[in-house]
């Protein structure tokens, strides 16, 4: 069994949408990161990492969450609906509760859809951490509001790895 894997999704050129990428960048250089944990900046296509996810003890996916009601930087966690352990070996097609899993992109699958499809091939518990953002605009950096929350977000991700 391989050690845990953290995948930070997002595009760093799209402002706050790249928060998952920024989390992965910071986390990979964080001395508090438990030994052996692998961290990757995952771009925007989770399916691309199917091979890397195989045989893992667990996988944590960090992505931006368009959440008009949430404070920017709030972290929301979803476990697979079937729960961890043996049950996830069986494909489950129910939606992750509270998240939109529409096929709403003509070009690639959402993280939610990818997680659902990956159950066919990757028999690993996947935890999804959604970080509330307000905007996704072309911009090199995070908004000051979200950047200020980054240390707290890192703390929250590290708790998952304890």
């Amino acid at each position: 069994m391989k050690p845990p894997l953290v995948i930070g999704l997002g595009n760093p050129l799209m402002g706050d949408e790249g928060i998952g990428w920024h989390v992965a960048e910071c986390l990979s250089g964080d001395p508090r990161l438990p030994a052996g944990v692998e961290v990757v900046c995952g771009g925007t296509d989770l399916l691309r990492h199917a091979g890397r996810m195989e045989q893992r003890r667990r996988v944590i996916v960090v992505d931006a969450l368009r959440d008009d009601g949430g404070e920017p930087g709030s972290v929301w966690a979803w476990d697979e609906p079937s729960g961890a352990g043996a049950a996830v070996c069986q494909p489950s097609y129910s939606q992750l509760p509270g998240l939109d899993n529409r096929q709403d992109n003509a070009h690639c699958l959402s993280a939610i859809q990818s997680i659902q499809l990956l159950r066919l091939t990757v028999r690993v518990p996947i935890k999804l951490l959604g970080i509330s953002i307000r905007s996704a605009n072309v911009q090199n950096d995070l908004s000051p509001e979200l950047a200020a929350r980054l240390p707290a977000i890192l703390d929250r991700v590290l708790i998952e790895l304890e």
Binding site: L9, G10, N11, P12, L13, M14, E17, V40, C41, G42, G43, T44, D45, L47, R48, H49, A50, G51, R52, D63, A64, L65, R66, D67, D68, G69, P91, Y93, G98, L99, D100, N101, R102, Q103, D104, N105, A106, H107, C108, L109, S110, A111, I112, Q113, Q116, L117, L120, T121, L128, G130, I133, A136, V138, N140
Partner: protein, 430 residues
């Protein structure tokens, strides 16, 4: 006046989607709005050094990060008159094939096939036909493996640099890729079985202009500097340095993407265009497969782009295998990148990304810093052609109800495999 609005093709609210306004039996207006970040990203590279440009612009697209990286490098090398080694050219072509395998597998099996079989998504399809979805996932994984091995990581290749590669792949890695590609041959054959079993999709027929890279070897996504436009038997050649005479971009009020027309006609880029411009690629196994798919070239049905992608999938796997055999025979040298001598100059590159012609053009100052950048993506080039085919689809449809028209329009949109907003990828609450 009635209106059909499909607003969830794109993920960014307020952008993307199709609007068709119908007055009686006449289509009054068709609008396809593209949210393409690339134009907005161009200012981000101004002032950057030549070796900082490709890593930034590769992020325009997560699926086509190889195409953006290699086109960027080619434009920079053209500006500084750098000639890369034959080994670098082969490795870059191999990277392109990996990306094409991944992209076509994703598009055909996880996006297009569910449409044909009337499933709302690949997840729903996987409940009834898991073998089809697993086949797509296997081929996608194969494409990813090639990109990771040659490019140095799963996404946004870091190993491809100006003048060559940071590190050549080890012989053992190429042997591993060869084994995976041999399984890929069987999978691409199985993919053809799936594609030939799909119901026909005859939604619209009309004369179409096709444009694609004309390559010296007749079969390259990377090499070559000329575009051929084919229309109704006539052919025209445009050199990369003169790309603006091909694109003739003009802003339209309803879309972030400028529209392109050649000789005042929209044109289509992508797999179907590539096979139309380079038909001599279709020999042997590909000729047989073309016959099985009942694909006639030049085609007049945009849905045939799906058939063309299936043919390219077979070809990409075979071509990748041939490149690896060639590299193994010749022996892979650990050669350093060709040194770059910056100068004040402009360089333009045209390549074939999975969904069609991709253009990068940069102007550098004497220190090798960008003073102007122009990136034109396939989806932007296709935007006017898509609107033309949307209009024809509605005009030629015997069924007039919104649900049927909406389904046909979405399938035509999907056949183009558009990259509407893939540079953005947020989760969203219900």
């Amino acid at each position: 006046m009635s209106k059909i609005v499909i607003d969830h093709l794109a993920r960014v609210e307020g952008h993307g989607g199709i609007t068709v306004e119908i007055e009686g039996d006449t289509v009054a207006n068709v609008h396809f709005d593209v949210f393409e970040g690339s134009r907005l990203l161009e200012p981000l590279v101004c002032g950057k050094r030549y070796d900082e440009v490709a890593p930034v612009l590769s992020r325009i697209c997560s699926i086509c990060s190889v195409a953006h990286t290699l086109t960027s490098l080619k434009a920079t090398e053209n500006a500084f008159a750098v000639r890369v080694s034959p080994q670098t050219e082969l490795l870059r072509e191999l990277l392109f094939r990996g990306e094409s395998i991944e992209s076509h597998a994703l598009h055909l099996f996880l996006l297009a096939v569910p449409d044909y079989l009337n499933y709302p998504s690949a997840i729903a399809l996987s409940a009834d036909k898991p073998a089809v979805v697993l086949l797509g996932l296997r081929l996608k994984k194969l494409g990813n493996l090639i990109q990771e091995t040659i490019g140095g990581r799963a996404i946004h290749p870091v190993n491809a640099v100006p003048g060559g590669f940071g590190k050549a792949p080890a012989i053992e890695q190429l042997i591993e890729l060869r084994s995976a590609l041999m399984q890929g041959v069987a999978d691409s054959d199985a993919a053809m079985d799936v594609m030939t079993s799909l119901p026909p999709a005859e939604f619209c027929h009309c004369d179409t202009v096709f444009a694609a890279l004309r390559t010296p070897s007749l079969d390259s996504y990377y090499a070559g500097d000329e575009v051929m436009a084919v229309s109704d038997g006539s052919r025209a050649i445009v050199h990369a340095n003169d790309y603006k005479s091909l694109t003739n971009e003009c802003a339209v009020p309803h879309s972030h993407a400028k529209h392109s027309t050649f000789r005042e006609k929209p044109f289509m880029v992508g797999s179907l265009a590539r096979l139309t411009v380079n038909p001599r690629r279709l020999t042997g196994k590909l000729a047989v497969a073309k016959k099985r798919l009942k694909l006639q070239l030049p085609a007049d049905n945009p849905m045939d782009n799906n058939k063309a992608q299936a043919l390219e999938l077979i070809n990409d796997v075979e071509r990748a295998l041939a490149i690896i055999e060639q590299l193994l025979r010749a022996g892979v040298k650990d050669e350093p990148p060709v040194p770059v001598q910056p100068r004040a100059a402009t360089g333009t590159a045209i390549t074939e990304a999975p969904r069609g012609l991709l253009i990068h053009s940069y102007t550098y100052d004497a220190e090798g810093r960008i003073t102007a950048a122009d990136v034109i993506t396939p989806t932007a080039l296709n935007a006017a052609s898509m609107e033309m085919h949307f209009r024809k689809t509605v005009e030629q449809s015997a069924e007039r109800d919104d649900a049927t028209l909406s389904r046909k329009l979405q399938m035509v949109a999907r056949a183009y495999d558009p990259c509407i907003s893939c540079s953005v990828h947020v989760l969203r609450r219900r």
